[in-house]
């Protein structure tokens, strides 16, 4: 009996180990090595060069612009995401499925196409181009366009995170709060928000990471004006295209650090949501 079991187990064990080894090898090859390479390249001319590369005027304005865009896009998407998740999780209405699909569009569409849409609508030759030009408002090839593109691309993160969470939790606690005399705002602040806070933070972390790192859509609407409309990823591309590898990697290392922090926070929040969500 015992011997037979060992035989029955031995084949899957071999298979299991080869699959695990393959997975580890691929992870090292495609994720750990490139990440290490970024840091090795970034520091191969030493600390001072790295520091100079990220504090040079154009780099600094790129960092500032990325932070500005993120600081606008993330709060907006928190509000949109909460509103959308609330609507979808709490109400049954016609068009609910359509709304759910619409929220996913930014995930499905290539970021470059998203960027082109904004050029088509707001660009000089676009639908609203003449109207905007009359009023001296520039959206495309300026900061507003970059913000719009970033908001669009990062729209699903918060909503997508909250919808299943709010659906699973149901609305009875909220109804209990109302029946006990709470106003809508008291209900939201004292009952809804504490119940979804970890999920919301999780969405915010993903949204922030994407907002800082977005390349495609921003690239189309930015116009690549140095010191004015370059974000961190666009600046990295410019440096790279100019064969300024070490500087490119130095700036890229900032984004990599963001990625690593995101990963850590993501794990922590996943653990928190699971702990509270049940």
């Amino acid at each position: 009996m015992n011997a037979r079991r060992r035989i029955a187990d031995s084949e899957p064990r071999l298979l299991r180990w080869s699959i695990i080894s393959l997975a580890i090898a691929l992870t090292i090859l495609f994720i750990v090595l490139p990440l290490a390479a970024v840091f090795i390249q970034a520091f191969n001319k030493g600390w001072s060069f790295w520091l100079a590369a990220i504090s040079e005027t154009n780099a600094r304005s790129a960092i500032e612009l990325s932070l500005l865009v993120t600081a606008i896009a993330v709060p907006l998407n928190v509000v949109f995401g909460l509103a959308a998740a609330w609507t979808i999780a709490r109400f049954r209405f016609k068009g609910r499925d359509i709304l759910l699909t619409l929220i996913d569009i930014p995930f499905g569409v290539s970021p470059v196409v998203s960027g082109l849409i904004f050029v088509l609508v707001f660009g000089a030759q676009g639908w609203l181009g003449p109207w905007l030009a009359d009023r001296d408002i520039q959206i495309v090839f300026a900061v507003p366009g970059i913000v719009l593109a970033t908001v669009f691309v990062t729209f699903p993160f918060v909503a997508r995170e909250l919808i299943p969470l709010m659906q699973a939790q149901g609305s009875s606690e909220e109804e209990a709060a109302i029946a006990l005399g709470a106003t809508g705002w008291q209900m939201f602040r004292r009952v809804t928000l504490p119940n979804i806070k970890w999920g919301l933070l999780y969405g915010v972390v993903l949204c922030t990471a994407r907002a800082l790192g977005e390349f495609g859509a921003v690239s189309v609407v930015s116009g690549h004006i140095r010191g004015l409309t370059n974000t961190i990823p666009l600046h990295v591309e410019i440096l790279y295209n100019e064969y300024n590898y070490t500087a490119a990697f130095a700036v890229a290392s900032l984004l990599s650090v963001v990625a690593v922090i995101t990963l850590g926070l993501k794990k922590l929040l996943e653990w928190k949501t699971r702990e509270v969500g049940s």
């Binding site: 009875s172 606690e173 109804e175 209990a176 709060a177 109302i178 029946a179 006990l180 005399g181 709470a182 106003t183 008291q186 004292r190 009952v191 504490p194 119940n195 509270v276």
Partner: protein, 325 residues
């Protein structure tokens, strides 16, 4: 405070959840809405609370129209089927919630809140558990916390949705006696929803039996049990067996040995006997119509007859009820 429901209608798409429902619950009364699932009883309760709006009809609380007034202004205590305790708050904070969200001019001082919640914790016999979270409590404890939370705001009306539905049989019996006593101390109008006829008949002062969005009958437990308005009520309030087109309770089926002088007796065969319990349940098969008949007889009678499976006996209904179709 009295509750009056007048001609309430509620549709969910093409489904009519409530069709022209009217009832009145007097101050101090404990009222049960009894019916099978999907009969509209929970919808009616939610409409009284203001958690849902009716498509037609009016709700009057204390003889004032409350149909359009928001839930939070109705001074209604609502106990949810699965308690809906705030999972991130302690038991203490759950109970204190209704007091803490009051408008600042009505909000009691912190010391008052603390004393009041303490009293309620005593009342529900959970004095020591104020610091626990809902997840750390048993079902019966959660139920009592939900009730204390609803009572903290001193509601004029107490509404309970399947209050004992999720509890095991022993805790259920205990809690429903406790609820009955509590209700008598509080002097509120209470309405509870249940699908359990025993619960409704044992606890409530009056009962409304609902079916397909309508009230079939309203009355005291004795009234509805003894004088059911129609076949549905009769069937819903107890086991029935059909006897020549009439409805008969199993305890009204008489069993005697073959050749008895009872005039209406018909021959039947014993198919199955359940002898565990206060009464003995006997399943029989009529020999003339091959219809199944269920009977309940006392243990003494059972012993006197010395029934066995396969015995051929005579059966006769003591009272049969005929309801117009």
């Amino acid at each position: 405070m009295s509750i009056e429901v007048r001609n309430i209608r509620r549709n969910f798409g093409a489904f009519e959840a409530l069709r022209d429902v009217s009832l009145r619950v007097e101050d101090g009364e404990l009222f049960a809405l009894l019916g099978p699932s999907g009969s509209g009883k929970t919808s009616l309760l939610r409409i009284i609370a203001g958690l849902e709006l009716p498509d037609g009809g009016t709700i009057r609380l204390n003889d004032e129209d409350a149909t359009g007034s928001p839930a939070r202004d109705r001074q209604v205590g609502f106990v949810f089927q699965h308690y809906a305790l705030f999972r991130h708050m302690t038991v203490f904070e759950n109970i204190a919630f209704g007091l803490r969200v009051k408008r600042s001019r009505d909000r009691p001082a912190d010391s008052v809140i603390r004393r009041k919640v303490g009293d309620l914790l005593d009342l529900i016999q959970l004095t020591q558990l104020g610091d626990r979270y809902p997840a750390q409590l048993s079902g019966g404890q959660r139920q009592r916390v939900a009730l204390a939370r609803a009572l903290a705001v001193e509601p004029k009306v107490l509404l309970l949705d399947e209050p004992f539905g999720a509890l095991d049989a022993r805790v259920r019996k205990e809690l429903r006696r406790w609820l009955r006593r509590l209700h008598d101390e509080l002097h509120v109008a209470s309405v509870f929803v249940t699908h359990d006829r025993e619960e409704a008949l044992e606890v409530a002062d009056r009962v409304a039996i609902m079916n397909h969005g309508r009230i079939e009958q309203t009355g005291t437990p004795a009234e509805v049990y003894d004088n059911p308005a129609n076949a549905f009520v009769y069937e819903f309030l107890g086991d029935v067996t059909i006897f020549d087109g009439g409805y008969v309770r199993p305890h009204d089926v008489e069993i005697s040995r073959r050749g008895s002088p009872t005039p209406a007796a018909v021959p039947a065969t014993v198919r199955f006997i359940v002898a565990a319990g206060a009464v003995v349940r006997v399943e029989l098969l009529r020999e003339d119509t091959e219809a199944a008949v269920e009977a309940e007889i006392s243990r003494e009678h059972y012993r006197a007859l010395a029934l066995r499976i396969g015995d051929r006996v005579d059966i006769a209904p003591r009272h049969a009820r005929i309801f117009p179709a």
